[in-house]
Structures are given as structure tokens and as C-alpha cells.
């Protein structure tokens, strides 16, 4: 799917309309970016995301890695002098473009897909499947091989998945959203 299919104007309206109407009070002080733990890895820093939205340059945002690397720790929002909820903005950008965004971080996308699928299937997450699937799916087979032995030694992982009795009902609802 092409990224052009994403309705950027609509997302911008949603952001400014009800996700964070306070956005316009941003004074570009940069406090949000100063406290962000992953800012070094970002193509655009949190305060730059705000000014890009204001300038209507949504395309740049959704083509960047920023929204996918944000861990939603909320440090930015709590330190903002204007109480702008930057983390909510980030999440809305993720949620609104998740389906059609071709530039999202591939590893993270695989992880989310796999995880959501497992929850739909089992009702709970299943870590061995998740780790295996992630390592195979991202072409980094046993990225964590060095600690895998440690994990097994300490029996830190359950070998068999658990099934939730109500997984059928859960599956019905989750299917709609995937």
C-alpha cells in the first residue's frame, strides 16, 4: 500500500482538534527533547515533531523513525511547561498510520503483529513463540542467543503456551482491530 493513502490532513485535524488542542502553546523550549531517553536515535526530536505538525509537514513525520521508537515513557509530557501531552500525540500518530505506513520500523512492526496475533489466538502472550518468531521474522536469528542459555537455566520461560478459556470471545473482538 502506498503511504499517499494515509489521510494526513485528517490526522492533523484530529491532533489539533481533540488529541492535543494545547499544541499551539508550544514555545519550542525543548524540555521534552532534553528528557527523552531515546532522542539520540530519533530522526526528529519531540519538539521538532510539534513544529512539523504546526507547519503541516505531516509527511516528514510519518516517514521518520521517531514515532516507532518512542517508548511512551511520558517524560516529555510531564516536563512540558505548557502541559502538552506529547506522548499522546506520538501514540495517535502511530495508531492512525499503523495500517498503511510503509516506513514504520520493520522490527517493531513484526513484533507488534506477532504479539497481537498471539493474544488473539491464545488470550495471553506466549514468550517462547514471541522470541522465536521475532528472531526468525527479523532475520536476526537468535539475536539474544547469548542470554538464551541463561534464561533456560533459570527456567525463566514457560515451555508451553497457556490458553485462556474465553479466547474465542476475545478473538472475535480482537479480530476486528487487526
Amino acid at each position: 500500500m502506498k503511504k499517499q493513502e494515509i489521510d494526513l490532513n485528517k490526522i492533523q485535524e484530529e491532533l489539533e482538534g481533540y488529541i492535543e488542542p494545547n499544541m499551539n502553546y508550544c514555545c519550542q523550549c525543548g524540555k521534552c527533547s532534553a528528557g527523552c531517553p531515546v532522542v539520540e536515535a530519533y530522526e526528529y526530536k519531540p519538539h521538532q515533531i510539534i513544529s512539523l505538525i504546526q507547519a503541516g509537514q505531516m509527511e516528514k513525520i510519518i516517514n521518520s523513525n521517531t514515532i516507532w521508537l518512542c517508548v511512551e515513557c511520558d517524560i516529555c509530557s510531564t516536563r512540558c511547561p505548557e502541559k502538552i501531552s506529547i506522548a499522546s500525540i506520538m501514540n495517535h500518530l502511530r495508531v492512525a498510520t499503523w495500517q498503511k505506513n510503509t516506513k514504520k520500523d520493520k522490527n517493531i512492526a513484526k513484533f507488534y503483529k506477532l504479539f497481537n496475533f498471539m493474544v488473539r489466538f491464545f488470550g495471553r502472550s506466549y514468550e517462547p513463540g514471541l522470541i522465536m518468531g521475532l528472531n526468525v521474522g527479523t532475520g536476526r536469528f537468535f539475536n539474544d542467543a547469548d542470554i538464551a542459555a541463561d534464561i533456560l537455566k533459570k527456567r525463566k520461560i514457560k515451555i508451553l503456551p497457556e490458553f485462556v478459556k474465553g479466547r474465542k470471545e476475545i478473538g472475535k473482538v480482537t479480530k476486528k482491530y487487526q
Partner: protein, 309 residues
């Protein structure tokens, strides 16, 4: 007169049910020592955590709310959800369920209506009002500080009782990570830039803590599965700062922080050619031992970096 017993529903969540079983078990033992009755939510499901929340908020709310309604069916409105990610999601769902339609904007209203529909589709008959109180382990223990103090007095007054040797050798730094900041709408029970809840609780059982500048730095959280190098760097900085502050161990209350700092410490050592040996204990393990539980009972042997100092 005997005080009424505290009864709560317990939501372990997926991590505590598998990779972080030590956290889970130490919590349960601690609750028992404190005389708090708990019952695991029957047939609980995954809250969806980050993958659901980052891809579809409606999905996240539906998954979380199912657990709340199951607790309600069992007759509970107080839920202990130690994992801070689950706590965040369950707490948020609780707020949506309790919200009055008049106060909501269009977006929130639509979200709530869809959630109600989803829950009905899952077979729940919804009541008029709900008032769920969701706690993570830290604010739950703070609320019941009195019980901890009483129990400590009881343990120390027993003749011939000596504090566990292991606790005497620990010089701890309390690490909170980003957990206190969320859920955004929740009432904050501590200072978010310089929290002291853990220091207070440990102080109640006679354990002093080092001053620690990196209390609320982020460990990189779930990025460990997809951007490992970044997590290794963030976690290394935390370990380094703890040592600089004169601590020889860290105390945490989040299993994700614990994993990044403990399980990945060997990776950090290899990556940065270091030789850190900083045990990372759960708050509940330390409190448990101070209140008379054995190392085995709090599953201390599950830590990757052994607390032999």
C-alpha cells in the same frame, strides 16, 4: 477488635506469569505475610500492553476491560496489577468505564461506546456504574504501610531474631524508571521527578538507601526486543551511576527494568567490556526478607546477578 481483612483481586499479567515468576511469587508471599487476602482473576487475559496500545487503542481497552469485569464478577472492585504496563492499561480502561458520557469529547465518547459494545460481544452484561480501584505494587504497599510497620515490629521483637545477613550487606539504590508517570490521568502518589516511596517503605523495615541521581531515567523498556543497543546503553548508564553513588545493588518494582538491568547485565558487560556485578532485586523480595521470609521463599535464586556481596 479484629480489623477487617483486606481482600483484593490479583492480576499477574503475562510477564509475571512466566519470565518474572520471581516477582510474582515474592509479591504473593509478601501479601500473605501482611495478612492480605488475594484471589487471582479467573481466566484473565493479556492486557495487550504496548503492541495493542500502539496499534489500536480500542483493542487495548477491550482486552484490559475484560479483566476488570471478570474481577467484578468475582465480587472485587480493588485490583492489584503489579506490572506497571498492565497497571497503566487496566487503570486507563477503568477510567473509561467509570466516565460519565456528558464529560467526554466526541472522540472519547465514540471510544467508550465501542468499548461497551465489545464487552457485550464478549458476553458481559454491563452494570450501570463501576468504580474500579487499580493499584500497582508501589502505591498498594504505600497504602498499607501500617501493616508493614506492624509486621516489622513483630519480627524484630521476637527473641533471638537477627536481620538476614544478605540485607546487611546490601547498599541499595532505588530505581523507579518511568513507571510513576503513568497512567497520565491517575492521581500521583509520589513526586515524579524525585520519588521517595521505595525509600520510605525500605526505611520502615530498617533499610537505608543511597542518594541516587538516576532514579527516574528510562531503561529503554520494551525496545530491548527490537533496538537492543539503545537499551544496553541506557541500562549501562543506570548501573554506572548506582556504583558512583556508592550502592552495590539496585531495588526495582518493574519486571521490565529488572530484566534490562539484570538479565542483560552480561550483555552490557560484553558490549562495553565491563565487569558489572550489580544485583537487581525486586522491592517485594527485599521487603519480604526483612519481614522474615527466606531467600528461597522470595525466589532470590532466580536473579541472574547473584546478590553475594
Amino acid at each position: 477488635m479484629e480489623e477487617e481483612k483486606i481482600k483484593i483481586a490479583y492480576y499477574p499479567g503475562c510477564s509475571l506469569n512466566s519470565t518474572s515468576l520471581d516477582f510474582n511469587v515474592s509479591i504473593k508471599r509478601l501479601l500473605e505475610v501482611l495478612g492480605i487476602e488475594y484471589e487471582e482473576i479467573e481466566d484473565w487475559n493479556c492486557c495487550g500492553t504496548t503492541p495493542a496500545h500502539h496499534t489500536n487503542e480500542q483493542l487495548s481497552s477491550a482486552l484490559s476491560a475484560r479483566n476488570l469485569l471478570l474481577a467484578d464478577k468475582m465480587g472485587y472492585d480493588t485490583i492489584l496489577s503489579p506490572c506497571v504496563s498492565c497497571y497503566n492499561k487496566l487503570g486507563h480502561a477503568a477510567k473509561i468505564i467509570a466516565s460519565e458520557e456528558e464529560g467526554l469529547n466526541d472522540f472519547e465518547l465514540e471510544h467508550k461506546r465501542q468499548l461497551v459494545e465489545d464487552l457485550q460481544e464478549m458476553g458481559f452484561k454491563l452494570k450501570e456504574n463501576y468504580d474500579f480501584k487499580v493499584y500497582t505494587i508501589l502505591n498498594f504497599l504505600l497504602k498499607h504501610r501500617k501493616l508493614i510497620k506492624e509486621k516489622y515490629r513483630e519480627v524484630t521483637q521476637k527473641s533471638g531474631s537477627e536481620p538476614p545477613r544478605i540485607l546487611e550487606r546490601l547498599s541499595v539504590a532505588c530505581y523507579y524508571g518511568c513507571a510513576l508517570l503513568r497512567p497520565r490521568e491517575a492521581e500521583k502518589f509520589d513526586d515524579i521527578e524525585n520519588p521517595t516511596s521505595m525509600e520510605q517503605l525500605l526505611g520502615d523495615v530498617g533499610i537505608g538507601c543511597r542518594k541516587f541521581q538516576f532514579k527516574t531515567e528510562c531503561c529503554g523498556a520494551i525496545l530491548s526486543l527490537t533496538n537492543k543497543d539503545l537499551v544496553l546503553k541506557l541500562s549501562r548508564d543506570i548501573l554506572e551511576m548506582a556504583l558512583d553513588c556508592g550502592a552495590n545493588s539496585l531495588v526495582v518494582f518493574c519486571q521490565l527494568c529488572q530484566q534490562n538491568l539484570d538479565l542483560r547485565q552480561s550483555q552490557i558487560n560484553r558490549h562495553y567490556k565491563k565487569d558489572y556485578r550489580v544485583p537487581v532485586l525486586y522491592l517485594t523480595q527485599v521487603l519480604g526478607m526483612a519481614l522474615g521470609l527466606s531467600e528461597k521463599e522470595v525466589m532470590l535464586d532466580r536473579l541472574f546477578v547473584k546478590p553475594e556481596i
